[in-house]
């Protein structure tokens, strides 16, 4: 019984953002079901999948939210940003404009998610479709890493949902960063003797880590 409630409290909401067609749904499906479908439908509305994950001996349930990337559906997508613990900013390396949209996605997320401090939030930049041939590639690693540096030193990872490259790593990395940030916030909270701003997330941690 207590195990069950603890597991419930360790729910991490992960949201995958990025232009239409960069492979958000494919990343989610590769990660959760280890399955890739070349011709899966584009996403309408919002979908999510859950996946259990063990991090530092704690069980977490990642609730991965996948939305439609097209601008038109912005007003239906943004309400889901609230309460996110992790945000994966995704683009496809063979699609320059999806890379150029990263800034827009980050801003949109910060604006609608109600997070207090965009610089202390676990973002991960995911460069998907690295399996494609070199001549098709439109965004180099250097270029991408520069952007990440300029935008708050965001962690960067290259993935392929198709060939199952680094997909697990990307999600693990995101959770790691999340837990580091949490630990830091805790420390700060204690040394500054301040009241925690986000009782929700705090509750989650306490319940699951037994603090």
């Amino acid at each position: 019984m207590s195990g069950k409630s603890a597991h419930k409290n360790c729910l991490l909401k992960v949201i995958i953002l990025g232009d239409g067609g960069v492979g958000k749904s494919c990343l989610m499906n590769r990660f959760v079901n280890n399955h890739f479908d070349d011709h899966s439908f584009h996403t309408i509305g919002v979908e999510f999948l859950n996946k259990e994950m063990k991090i530092k001996n704690e069980m977490y349930t990642l609730q991965i939210w996948d939305t439609a990337g097209q601008e038109r559906f912005k007003s239906l997508r943004t309400p889901f940003y609230r309460g996110s613990d992790i945000c994966m900013l995704t683009y496809a390396v063979d699609d320059k404009s999806s890379f150029q949209s990263l800034g827009m996605w980050k801003n949109e997320f910060v604006y609608y998610s109600d997070i207090k401090d965009g610089s202390a939030f676990p973002f991960v930049v995911v460069a998907n479709k690295v399996d494609i041939s070199e001549e098709k590639r439109q965004v180099s690693e250097v270029e991408a890493r520069n952007w990440c540096k300029e935008n708050g030193d965001l962690p960067y990872i290259e993935t392929s949902a198709k060939d199952a490259i680094n997909v697990d790593v990307a999600f693990n990395m995101a959770v790691d960063i999340w837990s580091q940030l949490e630990a830091e916030m805790d420390k700060q909270g204690m040394s500054n003797d301040t009241i925690r701003i986000d009782p929700n997330r705090n509750g989650k941690r306490e319940a699951c880590c037994g603090l």
């Binding site: 011709h39 097209q70 309400p79 609608y112």
Partner: protein
């Protein structure tokens, strides 16, 4: 949940479970004093002859298949002493209990809300149920949504059942139907091999029977009925403290009890080649469009003539055009299509480079063409030429309506049309016709979608106020979880074959242009118990609904949606908002009197107005974040 049988003159007639509550104990009348309760489920089941309260022991419901299940009929009006114990030779095997609500005089909740006592009309027979896990309120709440109740003046825990709405027209008891050959016989054998029996037979019997109930004795109601409705009303708000269950959504429950009973009609046969040929005169004109649409609405269209019929349904061919005129029209339209196609085809890379709006649309289409119905044989395989057709039609549509351009979802709408037409020109013009109906789905600000979602909420509140109330309380009152259904007309929820039927049905615009919302209500109705009993929150509701994809039976859904429309249409006391969504005029005598009632009744009107207002304003639905 429906069970089916051949005839309704035995007790195995088909009924629809309206509510089910598990963990309810029952002590059989035959039991000795020390006998323990048997645990089972207590339900309200709707039959064509009226609603009943049924209790079934747990183990029987598990081992029914093939074996016999026995129903105890507690029928007090003719045989006051009858009880479920009669005729049961085997005390070990426990009977199910069925009590027509029309036979119940009142109910009383006691023992800290764990005991529900039903007092029968003869005032002698009492049936008690014991709620083992939750209190009886959940059940009485359900009960109150199907019958009108009034608190007893003598006992605050007792509620008298004011008759079910249909009762004036209903035969007084079962025996009046001559359902029973022997009136003293109160136990029926219930053979539960229903699944094997023909569906159609059941449905038609069922509907004839209910029609009789519905139309036998029409219209003596409105003023008196409405008066009665409001008579008891002030009591509840005045004494909320007396009743632990509060007046859970009073206005809403008043709406549902005003609804007429549901009449389920069988689906028809698809429009046949002969019927289609016969519908045209010598010149090829179709005169009786109404009749034709009716056939299509009831049964769809046969595969082999779809490509022809759809052109009419989608407004490409006028119904009254002659064969010759259509040939000419087609020529004109073909030229027009290729002119527009040439516009984008002839665009040079340099032009494109300076035309970002065009480029954006083009890339979106490129991405989505690869992701549209690729499992259909028509679009299967990597170098399938039909993908090129899909692309060309969508690109040409961008030139046809550049402002709308291409929005995700459009490829879903085009794909079945293209696969039926297999010709890009016909597919294009049919698609244009389809888009004329649904372009609001793709509004820049999504206002068209928001409006439909709120209209869906309005309808749901009329049909299942308890469900809409539940959704409201679980952050889902904006109905967002139905977004995908409405955006692409259930394209992602049904198989290709089913979608063709569903769409041609909806293209008839019968019985109203918002039939897709009724389809949604029909689907939600089936999920109601799961959603409420699991007490799903926003995310679980979303997931549950998303996961319904490909798990629904279209024919059942359509039959239910049609029945819901008829039910609402014939119910005199719908709210203005509901009538508006259904396209029903407010002009008839019933309706005009009821709209006055809306404005007359102070508190109720306010509550309803608040509800309607809430629904009419897309922006307050919570879909748009406040800034």
């Amino acid at each position: 949940m429906e069970t089916k049988s051949k005839s309704m003159y035995d007790m195995s007639s088909s009924g629809t479970e309206i509510f089910t509550h598990g963990g309810v104990g029952y002590v059989p009348p035959s039991a000795t004093k020390d006998d323990v309760q048997t645990c089972g489920t207590l339900s309200i089941v709707s039959y064509s002859f009226g609603k009943c309260i049924e209790w079934k022991p747990n183990d029987v419901s598990i081992e029914t298949d093939g074996s016999e299940q026995e129903w105890a009929m507690v029928n007090t009006s003719k045989s006051p002493s009858a009880s479920s114990s009669q005729g049961d030779a085997n005390p070990q095997r426990w009977l199910s209990v069925r009590i027509p609500i029309s036979e119940i005089k009142s109910y009383r909740v006691s023992n800290k809300k764990t005991k529900l006592l039903l007092v029968h009309k003869d005032r002698l027979t009492h049936t008690a149920f014991y709620f083992q896990f939750e209190n009886a309120d959940c059940f009485t709440k359900s009960l109150r949504s199907v019958v009108r109740t009034r608190r007893s003046r003598h006992d605050k825990h007792t509620y008298n059942i004011v008759q079910e709405r249909v009762d004036p027209q209903m035969p007084h008891s079962f025996s009046d139907f001559n359902l029973l050959t022997d009136r003293k016989e109160t136990v029926w054998k219930f053979v539960s091999d229903m699944r094997s029996k023909p569906y159609e037979t059941t449905l038609s019997t069922f509907s004839k029977f209910s029609e009789y109930l519905l139309y036998k004795n029409p219209d003596e109601r409105p003023s008196e009925e409405v008066a009665r409705l409001f008579e008891g009303r002030p009591q509840q708000p005045q004494n909320p403290a007396l009743d632990g269950s509060k007046s859970d959504g009073l206005s809403e429950y008043l709406i549902v009890e005003r609804l007429k009973p549901r009449v389920l009609c069988p689906r028809g046969q698809p429009l046949s080649v002969t019927q289609w040929a016969n519908a045209m005169d010598a010149e090829g004109r179709i005169s009786d469009v109404k009749e034709l649409k009716k056939i299509i609405f009831e049964g769809g269209v046969q595969d082999s003539i779809r490509y022809e019929v759809w052109k009419f349904l989608l407004g490409y061919f006028p119904w009254d055009s002659s064969t010759h005129e259509r040939q000419e029209l087609r020529q004109v339209k073909t030229e027009e299509y290729f002119r527009m196609k040439l516009q984008w085809k002839s665009m040079t890379p340099e032009q494109e480079a300076r035309f970002s709006d065009f480029r954006d649309r083009k890339t979106l289409i490129e991405k989505d063409v690869n992701r549209t119905d690729r499992t259909l044989p028509f679009f299967e395989g990597d170098d399938n030429p039909n993908l090129g057709l899909l692309y060309d039609v969508l690109m040409t549509y961008v030139m046809y309506d550049f402002d709308l351009g291409y929005v995700q979802g459009m490829s879903d709408l085009l794909s079945p049309i293209l696969s039926v037409m297999s010709n890009e020109v016909d597919a294009f013009w049919c698609f244009v016709g389809f888009m004329k109906r649904v372009f609001r789905n793709f509004d820049m600000d999504q206002s068209g979608m928001k409006k439909q979602l709120s209209q869906l909420h309005t309808l749901l509140s009329a049909v299942h106020p308890d469900l809409s109330h539940f959704l409201d309380e679980h952050d889902s009152g904006n109905m967002f979880f139905c977004f995908r259904w409405l955006l692409v007309w259930f394209k992602r929820e049904f198989t290709h074959q089913e979608i063709m039927v569903l769409w041609e049905v909806m293209w008839t615009e019968l019985p109203c242009s918002n039939f897709h919302l009724l389809v949604s209500v029909a689907i939600l109705e089936r999920e109601k118990d799961v959603l409420i009993e699991n007490n799903y929150g926003f995310t679980e509701i979303l997931k549950h609904v998303n996961d319904l994809s490909y798990k629904m039976n279209l024919h059942d859904v359509l039959a239910t949606a049609t029945a819901i429309f008829k039910q609402l249409e014939s119910s005199p006391n719908l709210t203005v908002a509901t009538r508006r969504v259904l396209g029903l005029s407010g002009g008839s005598s019933h309706n005009s009197s009821s709209s006055e009632d809306d404005s007359l009744s102070d508190g109720l009107a306010c509550e309803m107005a608040a509800l309607e207002k809430d629904c009419d304003q897309g922006d307050t639905t919570g879909v748009t974040p406040e800034k």
